[in-house]
Amino acid sequence: MPTLLYFARLRETFGVEREQVPLPAPASVAGLLDALRARGSVWATELAPGRAFRVAVNQRVANAETAVADTDEIAIFPPVTGG
């Protein structure tokens, strides 16, 4: 099962740092986001289309079409604010 990581404000809002989820269908970032939004409440609002968040697959910046596999590490986080 893919491992999901959440960072910063999204980690606090979701109340989860790391979890494993079933491989979504379709097996893509878009499919995964749909599965998470289906949880409702903060998941639906924070991950709504148009909200500012980023997704990385295996520590590389990803987009909606990026494929996800069983062993992947997928991170969801807010826009970065370092420096």
């Binding site: 960072f7 604010t81 370092g82």
Partner: protein, 159 residues
């Protein structure tokens, strides 16, 4: 990564003099070292800030910094690059980030230093949380940082 380069994410403070001396000693082909130090301010968005906590994504953050330095090396002839970024809790006045770029001449050192900071601000996974009198809050990303990074795309230099 180039053997003369150093990219680190750490909780400990860094010593700018030590870092500067290290890259100055690496090559006598170096004629210029540009440096940028980012410091923690005691105010933001009009509010007092008494502390800040920086979070990162171990692994991806370091890889993103290496990629930014590699990108800078494609654009300018650099003898050495140092990037040190702190994480954890910082107090006003403390240094957050250091970028040093060594080159034969100042123009390339200045440009590379600014480029690395502009890209770090928008591409490296770090997040700041501020402690204010009203409580703690996550810092929002700024559109002006995206604009600063975008400048480098249209400067006639391709990857």
């Amino acid at each position: 990564m180039h053997p003369a380069d150093s990219v680190r994410v750490q909780t400990a403070p860094f010593d700018i003099g030590d870092e500067h001396a290290r890259i100055a000693a690496l090559s006598h082909a170096t004629g210029a070292i540009a440096s940028f130090t980012g410091l923690m301010r005691d105010t933001n968005e009009g509010d007092a800030v008494r502390a800040m906590t920086l979070e990162h994504y171990p692994g991806m953050t370091e890889a993103a910094l290496v990629e930014i330095v590699t990108d800078a090396r494609k654009r300018w002839a650099l003898q050495a690059v140092t990037v040190v970024h702190r994480v954890g809790t910082l107090l006003p006045g403390e240094a957050i980030v250091l970028v040093l770029t060594a080159s034969a001449h100042r123009g390339e050192a200045f440009s590379a230093c600014e480029f690395i900071m502009d890209y770090l601000k928008t591409r490296a996974p770090f997040w700041k949380k501020e402690e204010t009198p009203a409580g703690s809050r996550w810092v929002d990303a700024r559109a002006s940082d995206d604009d600063a990074a975008a400048r480098w795309i249209d400067d006639g230099v391709t990857d």
